[in-house]
């Protein structure tokens, strides 16, 4: 980038910002409310077949025999693939750490219930499912590993013979003088916590349509691909194709909240297409497949953690020991959720030393996948509960204990012990604002009155840092390589001055197309209607990543601004030349006009310059191409390689929020009702406030689900017991409180326009906030909930234990 990008909306070349920072209506919406957006299952290609997958009913078994002859003979079935085909044509998936990935279809053994063992392409999905029932598989059932603790038992069955162990990785990080601060502590607070599996569950499952070109040996994949380029590259590895012969066309997705992309489903559909002589094959993952074996399950964790404190409440140390059940393979990058907490390990606090002892194991549960927050939500559940335990021990108000430990505004940029740098923040200002918004003192009075009546009412004040704009280096400790996540935008102007922005990703709901259009419209003084945003498939897209790690709003803003600056430079050259050979510095851009600084009445509009470039090559400066187009690829500045304790500048921004929650626990049933919910957040410049608020409320809903309702339950043999939406409970409108919200803005000094990543937002904070409120309600009884979700049954058992059940 030649010049620095504008750091605040006020720095855009406009006298009054019309779109950036305003609640602009989204350009995506008319198609979505009309039902015309082309989600993947709306795509039909000529002669398209439909795929159904036969899946293992056993958690751990050897495959002895596969007989697909009856399926192949069924009328309407065009192709069947079995382990033999996959062994011949495909490779195991690349994973982090390497070596724990399998093929898209189990070859010799199955490692989890739901693992694909064969697949059919037929003229309809129903017929393909009929055919699956005709495939005969003989299994030798093996003893299974049902839990993380079982995985480490000395006589545990070994899932991966080539590794000879169920231990993927054990690593302890020591940051600062942990032993000393704990030895010198006046108080140590310790807790054990259990976070049970929950996960993304977008309303749209994964889907794809794949077509293998046998003459060209190339592959076309349409589908719900969150990170198209990356996914295409991974397919070239797993399917033995040259990387530039895999074309991924991402479709708008019905949500993702993790890593939508269906590696296995894509490979299977692609291989079926290959076997079917190149006919396109559609695979739509149905909800039961998703729940069982999609990228649906996250954060299967056992924690032991402690805080070291001085007598005055200063928190000096944090120790976290984590046993993480990754499921049968690491193919869906669940390991990253163990690494990401380094980006905000000590939260909002000035904790000087920390330790992170991590053990990752395989079991016969489904492979763990990314979910919004990607690791910190359970981490903060632990940290914030420890802080509340400390507050109770020291008889301090939980808000005040937090306040005295906050990183102070003058300390930013602040490097935390685990190495990441927080860009800006003012946690005390957030706290003051939310306590006022909630009328905290009145809430405590209300609580006191309720307690006098014997009611179990609790209040929490919980804060987190929500890391934004990730980089690969954040995950180096689980084997991810490289530094520098790219995001590119190609901005081109037509002869009438309309703009098209080409990006490499598609929509998932966070509104990045609208943000991109807002920025360009303000930059060049255009009406938003004159700006179109579109996605290019991977063979013609600029370098990109797509959504992930709360980065895309910032990243695409950076890319678009970079391209705008390049266009601005070219346009200025044209105008300077047309004004009689003035130096370029004599021209300024303001409100869509390129005008002479010394004589602002004289100039050309944006459209006039574009029209000239494309229509009057005779008027252009010598050597200038008739090409009002610019591409810019943004990546987070100042990233570095991690040291041997994983320390590095990883996530670029540190948003933060404090939630105040009031709950009541029904003594008789253990049910928790959320009575009041207040949020004050700070995510820097809010590029589109309506979008930001929507993300907040949406993440809150998922947080409530994780805190109270959602759980994938397994028996101790790793058989899944929650396999439909009747048992995996997504919150409805009745279960989600509408939070009263306010905000502050501490702009990021290091991002374009000062925005911080905010997409994952409240998911970091809500589970902690709800559980801390429950524990505040239960505190007089001397019990606390330390397991998610805090279902009525779990809470009731605690109440019974305390002799306090109604």
């Amino acid at each position: 980038m030649a010049t620095e990008l504008p750091r605040l909306p006020e720095q855009l070349p406009t006298s009054s910002v019309r779109y950036v920072g305003k609640e602009v209506k989204r350009v995506e919406d008319p198609a979505l409310v009309s039902g015309t957006a082309e989600f993947i299952d709306n795509l039909t290609l000529p002669n398209m077949l439909h795929c159904a997958i036969l899946r293992s009913p056993h958690p751990h078994a050897r495959i002895l025999k596969v007989d697909a002859s009856a399926a192949e003979a069924l009328e309407g079935v065009v192709a069947v693939i079995t382990p033999e085909d996959v062994k011949r044509w495909a490779n195991a998936h690349v994973t982090s750490p390497p070596g724990w990935g399998t093929h898209c279809i189990a070859i010799d053994k199955v490692l989890y219930v739901g693992e694909p063992v064969a697949a059919v392409a037929a003229t309809s999905r129903a017929l393909a499912e009929d055919a699956c029932e005709l495939i005969d598989i003989e299994y030798e059932i093996l003893p299974s590993v049902g839990t993380a603790n079982a995985a480490l038992a000395p006589d545990a069955p070994v899932l991966w013979e080539e590794h000879g162990t169920n231990l993927i990785q054990q690593r302890t990080y020591n940051w600062g003088e942990v032993d000393r601060v704990f030895a010198e502590a006046d108080h140590i607070v310790t807790g054990s916590f259990r976070w049970n599996r929950c996960g993304a569950n977008p309303t749209e499952t994964f889907g794809c349509v794949c077509q293998w070109d046998l003459t060209d040996n190339s592959l076309l994949c349409h589908g719900g691909y969150q990170v198209p380029g990356f996914w295409g590259l991974a397919r070239s590895f797993s399917l033995n194709l040259p990387a530039n012969k895999v074309k991924v066309v991402s479709h708008p997705q019905g949500g993702a909240f993790g890593g939508k992309g269906g590696a296995r489903g894509t490979d299977i559909a692609a291989l079926l297409s290959r076997k079917a002589g190149g006919l396109p094959v559609k695979y739509i993952e149905d909800r039961m497949e998703y729940l069982l074996a999609g990228s649906s399950q996250s954060w299967d964790r056992h924690y032991e953690a402690s805080l070291a404190l001085k007598a005055d409440g200063t928190i000096t140390g944090l120790k976290v020991k984590l046993l993480d059940d990754q499921g049968a393979t690491t193919e869906t990058y669940g390991t990253i959720s163990v690494a990401k907490p380094l980006a905000a390990f000590t939260g909002n606090y000035r904790i000087e030393a920390a330790q992170y002892d991590t053990t990752l194991v395989v079991t016969n549960r489904a492979p763990a996948a990314p979910y919004r927050g990607y690791g910190p939500p359970p981490h903060f559940y632990v940290l914030e509960n420890l802080v509340d335990m400390a507050a109770r021990k020291l008889a301090m108000d939980p808000a005040e204990l937090r306040r005295i430990n906050y990183i102070r505004p003058d300390q930013f940029p602040y490097t935390i012990p685990s190495g990441n740098e927080y860009d800006s923040g003012n946690y005390e200002a957030i706290l003051d604002k939310v306590l006022k918004l909630a009328d905290y003192q009145a809430l405590r009075k209300e609580q006191a009155a309720a307690r006098a009546e014997g009611r179990l009412v609790g209040i929490s004040v919980v804060n987190t840092v929500e890391p934004g704009v990730f980089d690969w280096n954040a995950y180096a400790t689980v084997g991810v390589q490289g530094v520098g996540v790219p995001e590119g935008a190609r901005v081109s102007v037509d002869i009438l001055g309309n703009v098209t922005i080409v990006v490499g990703f598609n929509l998932q709901g966070q509104g990045q197309f609208t943000v991109a259009a807002q920025v360009v419209a303000d930059y060049f003084g255009l009406d938003m209607n004159a700006v179109k945003v579109t996605m290019a498939p991977t063979d013609s897209a600029p370098p990109h990543f797509g959504q992930g790690g709360s980065r895309l709003g910032v990243a695409i803003t950076g890319a678009v601004l970079g391209a705008c600056q390049k266009l601005e430079a070219d346009f200025k050259r044209v105008v300077a030349h047309l004004m009689g050979g003035l130096p370029v510095e004599a021209i300024e851009l303001m409100d869509g006009k390129f005008r002479i600084k010394a004589n602002p009445a004289i100039g050309m509009t944006f459209a006039e310059v574009a029209g000239t470039m494309l229509g009057r090559s005779d008027l252009l400066p010598p050597g200038m191409e008739p090409n009002p187009t610019a591409t810019s690829v943004w990546t987070a500045p100042g990233r570095n390689m991690p040291d041997d304790q994983g320390r590095c500048k990883s996530y670029l921004t540190a948003a933060s929020a404090t939630h105040v929650v009031m709950v009541e626990v029904d003594r008789e049933t253990g049910r928790t009702q959320i009575l009041k919910y207040f949020i004050v957040d700070d995510c820097g410049t809010r590029l589109n406030p309506a979008t930001v608020e929507g993300q907040l409320q949406g993440a809150l809903a998922q947080g409530v689900g994780a805190a109270l309702l959602e759980e994938y339950v397994y028996d101790d043999q790793a058989n899944p017991l929650v396999t439909t939406f009747a048992d995996y409970l997504i919150p409805s409108i009745h279960e989600v409180p509408i939070a009263t919200k306010d905000f502050i803005v501490t702009p990021s000094p290091v991002t374009p326009l000062g925005a911080k990543g905010c997409g994952e937002g409240a998911m970091h904070t809500t589970p902690a906030a709800v559980s801390c409120a429950i524990n505040d309600a239960l505190a007089p009884l001397g019990v606390q909930i330390t397991e998610t979700p805090a279902t009525p049954l779990r809470v009731w058992k605690l109440l019974k234990q305390a002799g306090a059940a109604g």
């Binding site: 293992s56 999905r125 029932e133 008789e668 899944p720 929650v722 009747a726 048992d727 009525p792």
Partner: protein
């Protein structure tokens, strides 16, 4: 639904929800297995078809609103060879008063029952039970008769049937018969209807004037199938409780009356202490409550206790 290593087949639904998943096949099916389809226009024709298929050994199933059957079909846990759709039998779609009885045709939708002024006035308990079923979309298609014939352990109607003595009218090859609720509900998803019988009507006595009633259930989310629930009716005569009827649902294979609890409150003052005593008895009287991922047997017992107490209080407040 949850899988409890239960055998598949006729010992259906140990679990509430859409039925058991066969242990041999997991989660790959959400398109129904093939079936043939008939949509007779009269009850007689439906009965004749059922009789024919029974004699041929063909597995035929009646389709009413489909809100319970369709998930089972989609998941392939129900795999009939033939569906007999009653949806064209308009003669079964009515709600009318017959003296002191409300006669509801088995194909009347639940939302029709929900909106019915007649039911609101004469059987508010039945209307309240109707409102508890799922969501409006479910009630728009789901039929009154369907819940009776499906006999899900967590359904509300069977419990109301027990305390209100709702009679079920069935028509079969041998003609019509009226079946009392104590006979009708046999076990999980099983009624006493013969293979060739069709439930044509449910007959609900109007709630006698002054009767207090209450139906409450426990779910984790609004509109879910009940984890446990209780129905109560009672009258207050000269300051004491009379004709106390208590039934629980969601805790056993069928809804159950709780006579020990009823007897304890009979002739007693409607006080909190007496209600608590009755509630404890109700809880203790439940035999082997269901256990699943959402609730242990103990916890279901607790819920019976809690909701019996709450329902008694609400019913007493309503009684006049």
């Amino acid at each position: 639904m949850s899988i409890h290593q239960a055998p598949s087949g006729p010992r259906a639904c140990e679990k509430r929800g859409a039925g058991p998943i066969q242990v041999t096949d997991r989660g790959t099916k959400l398109k129904a297995a093939p079936f043939d389809y008939h949509a007779p226009q009269t009850v007689e024709a439906a009965v004749a078809l059922l009789q024919q298929f029974e004699s041929e050994g063909v597995d035929a199933k009646v389709l009413a609103g489909g809100q319970s059957l369709m998930p089972m079909l989609n998941m392939r846990v129900a795999r009939p060879q033939v569906l007999i759709d009653l949806g064209k039998i308009t003669a079964l779609d009515y709600i009318r008063a017959e003296g002191d009885t409300i006669a509801i045709g088995s194909m009347a939708t639940k939302s029709a029952a929900e909106d019915s002024a007649l039911i609101k006035e004469r059987q508010p308990l039945f209307q309240a039970a109707t409102k508890l079923v799922g969501h409006r979309q479910i009630r728009n298609r789901g039929t009154v008769g369907g819940s009776f014939a499906h006999a899900d352990p967590s359904a509300e109607y069977p419990a109301v049937a027990l305390v209100q003595d709702i009679q079920m009218k069935a028509q079969g090859p041998n003609g019509e018969r009226l079946i009392p609720p104590t006979e009708f509900f046999v076990t999980y998803m099983t009624t006493c209807l013969d293979a060739a019988e069709v439930l044509t009507e449910v007959r609900i006595p109007a709630l006698p004037a002054g009767t207090g009633w209450s139906i409450q259930e426990f779910t984790k989310r609004d509109g879910d199938l009940a984890i446990a629930g209780v129905v109560v009716t009672l009258r207050k005569v000269k300051g004491v409780c009379e004709d106390v009827r208590i039934a629980a649902f969601g805790v056993n294979a069928t809804a159950v009356r709780l006579p020990a609890a009823e007897a304890a409150l009979q002739g007693q003052a409607p006080t909190k202490e007496n209600f608590a005593r009755a509630a404890a008895l109700a809880s203790g009287a439940v035999e082997e409550p269901i256990g699943d991922v959402h609730a242990t047997p103990d916890y279901r017992r607790q819920l019976v206790k809690v909701f019996t107490g709450r329902c008694l209080a609400e019913a007493a407040a309503r009684a006049s």
